[in-house]
Amino acid sequence: MPGVELIDVAKSFGSTEVIPKLNLSIDEGEFAVIVGPSGCGKSTTLRMICGLEPVTSGSIFIKDRNVTKAAPKARDIAMVFQSYALYPHMDVAGNMSFALRLAGRPKEEIKRRVDHAAQLLELTDYLHRKPRDLSGGQRQRVAMGRSIVRDAYCFLFDEPLSNLDAKLRSSMRTELALLHKQLERTMVYVTHDQIEAMTMADRIVIMDQGEIQQVGTPREVYTSPRNRFVAGFIGSPSMNFLDAQLQDERGELVVRGDGFRLPIPDRLQQQVQNTTVTECTVGLRPEHFFARNDGSGNLAALKLNVDVAEYIGSSQFLAAHLGEQAVTATVDVGPDAEPMQSGEYYFDTNRLYLFDRRTGMAL
């Protein structure tokens, strides 16, 4: 059953169309992450679900109820803002209980729920502190606590971790995933950070320029990106794109470009035979380069001119040139290896991607 459903939702600010027409269905209890570069319309989408931003056309359903015109408080949702938006004149308990007090809930119930949320988020010792006396991570937890006490049907998160430092962010990521498990609520999470999306999501919604590019599990969007945008956005460091031509060399389908010639993997044979496209873009993920040919997979040799080799522990990050085109590669050579030099490297051709150069769609 869909928990949150957007049908033909469009949004314009004045004459500027931000979201053309968007259809999205998020299952009940699912952790959906909307990800995309800034300005892609992901926050606007979330604010429309929340009710802070009216839709220009289309309808929104939450729990099978049409809430398109409903006020935020009638939607049974809770939201965590990017900036936390804590009430600075109330202490932590006051912040968390504000919604319940507004709703006129009995005192004992409010106390019970606040205590429960505080325990869950390890805020019990801070209940009587003001937001200004809390650290960034604690404020972030208060913001989450404020939505948890609501016991809402659906939780909305607008880049809640973007103001935290890297270490705290990764631990909060884990806590959030755990929270989702405990609460079993529908959660919609907006971020521009693809790592956050990959690690937390049941399903990822990738947006660009107001349009959904692909919806799928983290594995799906990583292994079968629908188009060049998704391929480039998901994965870190991001995929290399090289101009190339599809050619039939005496019965063998190959993709040939400046400084390389790679055989088409079995998985793409059918598509390549059926297409009329010859001008294509080859997608090579940096992590699918290897320094040695250990005989596994379908490794093809590529000559890389290494410009810089960056040491990052057990692997090295290479900024290099393949022919005239710049590529990046991460090769796993162990922590003791010397800085890598130009020479033969290997690419696993099973993991190669092909895109129509004109439309950007995956073949």
Binding site: S83, A85, L86, A99, R132, L164
Partner: protein
């Protein structure tokens, strides 16, 4: 460099300057208070007596006992309190609208309010008087309240506009999502954070309304006089009654002083600290 900044001579020079300024500020007040306790003989003595004289309460007794001091005091309090209240109420709403609502020419309106403030009230006195006579509403406290509110609104709007701008809009959105009605958002989230802004605006508005002289002189009659106008009544044909004027002045100073102390307690720096970001 820092050595020079903190050299004893510099520090001393600083304090000497500060002391001189303080004396310049406080001396007129001392003259007012001391004169109010002097009788005419001491006041008009050939050379001024600064500190050592026999104090007398005569001036105060005369003002409070014989004149209509209580009536003027009530007038002043009504005019200042009501016009301050109206200014803060209307000014706050205008400022909020300017800070939040998106409409064409918003910035222009926000800045233009301050331009209105550039007009000195004295310039408005004659037109205001003509208007009031034309409408036949002179000698009415309401008229004075109306003018003071109109006069103070631009400044209050401009000031409160700045304060509202500092409150992140996410706070209101959070309250809306938490289920607050517009009035609840205003009274339970915005107003507590705007305390400082309203206190500052209130101090200025009250002080101006309390002390204003020209409009009050023109627009009030025998029974609707405010204290500053009443004080000017001691400039008589037979001379200036300095002792009584100063006694009146001393009494006039007290209410705004109390008001300021009360209002200033609401001014807390960094009220919105901790609302957003880390």
């Amino acid at each position: 460099m820092s050595n020079q900044l903190h050299s004893p001579w510099r520090v001393m020079a600083h304090y000497v300057c500060l002391c001189l300024l303080a004396i310049a500020c406080l001396m007129p007040i001392w003259v007012m208070i001391s004169t109010s306790f002097k009788d005419d003989i001491v006041i008009f003595d050939g050379k001024p007596i600064w500190f050592f004289f026999v104090p007398t309460m005569d001036n105060y007794e005369y003002i409070v006992g014989r004149g209509k001091f209580d009536r003027y005091l009530v007038n002043s309090v009504i005019v200042a309190v009501v016009s301050t209240f109206l200014t803060l109420l209307l000014g706050g709403l205008c400022a909020y609208a300017l800070a939040r609502a998106e409409f064409k020419g918003r910035r222009f309106v926000a800045n233009a309010t301050l331009l209105v403030r550039m007009v000195p009230p004295a310039v408005l006195a004659v037109p205001a008087f003509a208007m009031v006579i034309f409408l036949n509403v002179n000698n009415d406290l309401l008229v004075l309240i109306f003018f003071y509110t109109a006069l103070n609104l631009p400044f209050a709007i401009w000031l409160l506009f700045g304060f509202y701008k500092q409150i992140p809009v996410e706070l209101e959105e959070a309250a809306i999502v938490d289920g607050a009605s517009p009035l609840q958002v205003f009274f339970r989230v915005l107003l507590p954070l705007m305390k400082s802004g309203y206190a500052v605006a209130g101090i200025f508005t009250f002080r101006i309304a309390w002390n204003e002289f020209i409009l009050a002189l023109l627009l009030t009659g025998r029974n609707t006089r405010t204290l500053p106008v009443a004080a000017s009544g001691f400039l008589t044909d037979t001379g200036v009654e300095w002792g009584r004027i100063m006694a009146m002045g001393t009494l006039i100073v007290i209410p705004p002083l109390l008001f300021t102390f009360f209002a200033a307690r609401q001014i807390i720096a960094g009220m919105t600290a901790g609302a957003v970001k880390g």
